[in-house]
Symmetry: C2
């Protein structure tokens, strides 16, 4: 929390736009400076563990990039980026309890490695530290930034509850629109808010803030559709996840929802039969059913459609096109993975 | 959040100090104004339920009283009082999961009435709403108030983890000092912070803030010792709890810790034998052991000693004595219950 990244100007005095790797290095350097207490060790060892297995830092980097769109990266943007990253880790710790997930990024989850009670308290502690960072923001936008963050965080919780509700519902009871709303709240809204907050701190006007939010939301939706597609049709080596894990677990995904929606009555019956089977033998016929219902082509098309909407919003932001290069590269990195 | 309680002046133009009942009525009127969303109903019904079974509102009233010590009650003090009350309810929802508590104030707990996942999300949502209120504070003290709140909230979580750790430890491994520290963090620190925050918003100087904090912390410790005493030696009708529930559950209390500390080797063996018995037949001999080790007299003495320290801090606050009447009455109400 102690370092301020001063503007990097090129030879002509114009503002330089920092790359993903520049911002990641700057983010990590100050994020790893955080000092948690040592005691009780049973709590803070779990808190440290929850942050040791770092993810891709997409949300904090989006916040910093949106800030950098508007000018040199401000210290307040780092504080907000830390808050967003801690919040994301908080959701993982509590979601893993709720989803009974034994592993996260290949390591035992907190509730498995420690216990459920410590996992609840670890999440609660991370959530309090989110506000330690937000409370250090100095600019006039502090109240607006905090309000934007809170709105997104409440939506994420609502999305998680809706996801739990939908897991217990039959496919026939879930509309595609409800599913899309749920996924948007659970995942896309935090990306959107991270970008908006970075922009706010950089002095973006209301319209530019709205474009940043919409850019993030559409990128988030495209990413989620792509994620579901890759689990089923991706290259296992490149993608790095078990292929068709979603099918095996009967997970409700865009592909499953779309297939059910498009299916003939006979195909629906077949789909329901396959879902009643808990063996790997259901995978191949389910993939075939997805193809027969053209869910694979739909996913490729929808992913591109959301990406196009996102890029139109990025284009509408009233800063020189050259400043948008980092966000364009990040979009490309996120949305052109392995298909 | 919409009402501002303007100063109530008496005929001579002096500030009137509001009573517990006045402040409680004012608090309830605006606290019940809160508007949660309706959907997802599975989440917000649980959130509403968690607040429907209201407690004694001690923490928010302490915040308002401390504010009223310094002058008319400020709208920001109501915002802080709401935050403190929501935070307290958040801790109950998550603690009840951790403690496997089926009932709270005679009603099923959230995790029992709904389920564990919804209880986790209900707590998380309440904690976010804490910051919705704190973020609406307008005065220059906003950052300091939030920092004071966060320090207390982190201590409460640390106290809860330490409590869980101690539950799993043998009596011989727990020192009286460690137990006192744990209880202070888990319960007294939030009372202390509620008072300090009310004072800060009223413009109290640093010394007065420290006295308010110390007043609350000592009242909290006295209250906890009294609570343990009354569970064992109180009048069941007046106290309204099952007598000796703590003994039946082998709960680590001030009485048990103090008895173990003062006991002869023979008494320690007897105590350990009794703790190995899970029937009601252990209650009478355990109460006798507490008396033999004079833990009952110790508790009365310590409760009075902490109360005296608290009152010395209250006396040191640099406002007219007449303004302190409401806090004195509340102290009396809390600490002279049934013994």
């Amino acid at each position: 929390m102690s370092r301020h990244h001063s503007p990097q100007n090129n030879a002509t005095g114009e503002q330089a736009v920092l790359s993903f790797n520049d911002l990641l290095a700057a983010f990590e350097a100050q994020f790893n400076d955080r000092l948690f207490p040592k005691n009780p060790a049973t709590l803070y060892e779990a808190v440290e563990y929850s942050l040791s297995n770092s993810g891709k830092r997409i949300r904090p980097i989006l916040c910093l990039m949106a800030n950098n769109l508007m000018g040199p990266v401000h210290l307040d943007a780092f504080l907000a980026a830390n808050a967003v990253e801690l919040y994301h880790n908080f959701t993982l710790v509590h979601d893993d309890i709720m989803d009974h997930a034994p592993l996260r990024r290949g390591q035992p989850t907190i509730y498995k490695k420690f216990n459920t009670n410590t996992a609840i308290l670890t999440g609660d502690t991370l959530l309090l530290y989110v506000f330690e960072y937000l409370n250090c923001i100095q600019g006039d936008y502090k109240q607006a930034v905090t309000a934007t963050f809170l709105e997104a965080a409440l939506a994420v919780g609502e999305g998680q509850q809706t996801d739990l509700d939908m897991e217990a519902m039959p496919l026939s009871a879930i509309s595609y629109t409800d599913y899309l709303d749920m996924i948007t709240m659970k995942t896309a809204v935090l990306l959107a808010a991270s970008l908006q907050i970075g922009g706010m701190i950089g002095g973006a006007g209301e319209e530019d803030q709205e474009h940043l939010y919409a850019f993030g939301k559409n990128i988030g939706t495209a990413f989620q559709i792509q994620d579901d597609y890759l689990d089923c049709f991706g290259d296992q080596v490149k993608f790095g996840k078990q292929i068709c894990g979603d099918i095996l677990l009967n997970k409700k995904t865009f592909l499953l929802l779309k297939t059910f929606e498009s299916a003939t009555p006979a195909q629906r019956s077949h789909l329901e039969e396959l879902m009643a089977d808990n063996t790997i033998y259901k995978i191949a016929p389910m993939v075939q059913l997805y193809k027969d219902c053209k869910a694979d082509q739909w996913a490729i098309h929808e992913c591109q459609r959301y990406q196009d909407i996102a890029l139109r919003h990025l284009k509408s932001i009233s800063v020189p096109e050259a400043h948008k290069q980092a966000l364009l590269s990040l979009t490309d990195m996120l949305l052109n993975r392995a298909h």
